[in-house]
């Protein structure tokens, strides 16, 4: 009897572990800066945003020092965009595997999305350090931080499944992904607070689930305003919807991966 997709995925969970482990090991071995890279990326972009938006443009930041405000957003976004761009290219980068051996294809993008989580953990720890430097103490709600991670991962995986499948089918998708992520970043309240968006447009922000996620991460860490459960629930709902669509699209297309890749 053939098992269904989820059962097979579960049967191959050890391979998922090995793939994540391989991705991590190789990434840290091959880059000169290794683990430091996880921190440098959000820190440097925060510095740039701080100079241009915080200092020069006097961007408001909900009463929090701008660097802390921007860094917390960038830490979340660095994970998301890193995971999506890495996982979207994961099938193409592993084409050698796809054409030579069978295993649940879903393992590859899933491993890609998970393998960036340690980077996010490190970036989060640095975020806490940054808060202390600016004389802020993380609120008790910071304990909710781990609960937000699955929401972020669900979103990243859903988007990655769609993009990874498109990437196998169409060769120009690869060039569109960085552009797409950059647009997405500016539509997400990372370098600006939701409060500067005019009231009548805010409902539109709900359509971008990453907005709710970034906002929730920031609210739980800073405790300067209540966590907006409604927005977060909308983000999770949208995230699950994207994941379902991604899973459906991926599993329908995976039969032909080896033929077209």
């Amino acid at each position: 009897m053939r098992r269904n997709g989820l059962q097979e995925f579960w049967a191959y969970r050890e391979l998922l572990f090995f793939m994540v482990w391989r991705d991590l090991k190789v990434r840290y071995k091959q880059t000169l800066l290794g683990v430091a890279w996880a921190v440098i990326q959000p820190l440097v972009s925060t510095l740039i945003f701080f100079l241009f938006f915080g200092k020069m443009a006097k961007m408001p930041s909900d009463g929090v020092p701008y660097p802390v405000f921007a860094y917390l957003g960038m830490a979340v976004w660095t994970y998301f965009s890193g995971a999506v761009s890495y996982a979207s290219n994961s099938l193409v980068n592993n084409s050698q595997l796809l054409t030579k051996v069978w295993f649940p294809r879903l393992i590859i993008p899933t491993a890609g999305v998970l393998s960036l989580l340690p980077d996010f953990l490190i970036a989060s720890v640095v975020g806490v350090a940054l808060m202390f430097i600016y004389g802020l103490t993380p609120a008790w709600t910071f304990l909710l931080w781990p609960l937000l991670v699955p929401v972020m991962v669900v979103l990243a995986l859903g988007a990655s499944l769609i993009l990874a499948t498109l990437n196998v089918r169409y060769r120009d998708v690869k060039y569109a992904i960085p552009f797409l992520l950059q647009m997405w970043m500016f539509l997400t309240p990372i370098i600006y607070p939701v409060s500067i968006v005019p009231e009548k447009w805010r409902a539109l922000l709900l359509l971008n689930p990453m907005g709710g996620v970034v906002d929730a991460f920031r609210a739980t860490a800073l405790g300067n305003r209540p966590l907006e459960w409604g927005t977060l629930a909308a983000a999770l709902g949208l995230g699950l919807l994207v994941l379902l669509i991604g899973l459906r699209y991926f599993t329908r297309a995976e039969r032909e991966f080896a033929d077209v890749i």
């Binding site: 391979l15 190789v26 050698q96 595997l97 039969r255 033929d259």
Partner: protein, 418 residues
Amino acid sequence: MIAVSAHDIRKQYRLGELKQGDTMLREAIVGMLRGRGRGRQLEILHALAGVDFEIHQGEVVGLIGRNGAGKSTLLKVLSRITYPTSGHFTTNGRLSAMLEVGTGFHEELTGRENIFMNGSIMGMKKAEIAAKIDQIVDFAGVQRFIDTPIKRYSSGMRLRLGFAVAAHLDPDILLVDEVLAVGDAEFQKKCLDSMDELRGGGRTVIFVSHNMAAVENLCRRVIWIDKGRVHMDGPAEEVVRAYMGTFASAQAGGADLAAIGSRAGSGQARLTGAEFLDRQGQTLNFIRSGDALTVRVRTVLHETIPDLHVGVEIRNEMGLLLSISNNWMTGPSLVRVPAGDHAFDLDIEALHLMPGRYYLTLWLKGPDSRNYDLLENCLVMDVETSDWYGTGRGIDPHFGLIFMPARWRTGALSGGDA
């Protein structure tokens, strides 16, 4: 009990899709806007055109056939890498496919790490790999380097490591694609022995190979695939003999190639014949190690060919490629060759081959690897021993893979003369 049964398996490719990297999202969107009806007419390639067979548990079956006949596609279908266009198959038990040695190896990881990675990709459990790792390392013979990244391994070591993992898979059904064609002779033997062990273990094995000696040695039953169908299915010896009979028979002087029906290539130029000649242009009745030899390739061109490349490949009986000679590499260029009959002579100064049987593959190509004609193993060349050294001892094929015309000289540094 039936281990594998296949019912009318068909696999079609639309030829446009085969070329990597030619589909653009931009084009697809434009195509969708214009309506699908006016899409490109794609040529359909029938890689498998209805394959049926049943294999019992414990059988070791050889799968033979020319390149492009569908053997590899069939293995890929059975191992679920690709899906059949129609038809279905059932497998009974845990199945592993070895279509390549060392799938998933990563340069930066150590030998040990790669064993875990590769084993797990092939469907082994972590605990299982951990229990067998000593045996695997032992089999590969890489004990000293097991914690070294494999980017420092030689290709031979990598191959041995990959095969060692595969040899410890322990599946009920094993699919093996031509993986033995590489590696040194000693390791090849070790692999064949381990395959032999598999046969004793009641395991079902499907084995694709061009190495007829290995196929005959390992398999009792052989399935011959031709043009995507089962052409013949029966006792190994019978099928192999029938199959080899379709290649050029072992004629001393050469072969008439015009009659061969199944050909690859576009056909603007065709191979029509080949002859073995001596320096005087006389047909050779026998060929000896060390002889000067001319291979005359006869062709017919149906149109003017702008840039013609003629190639001769020599393989030994194990299917190992020994040498390729073509005029693209060696010159002269053949530009604007007019339509008509042409013969091209390949002069071999001295045949550096051990006595034995060799197969020649001939091809006519153009630039951009365009194929006009390709005949695999179309010519048999039996090389006899010769007294090249003048010692009366001949040339012994046990002394290596190639014949090296070398002589010892003495007295270069003999003492006394200061």
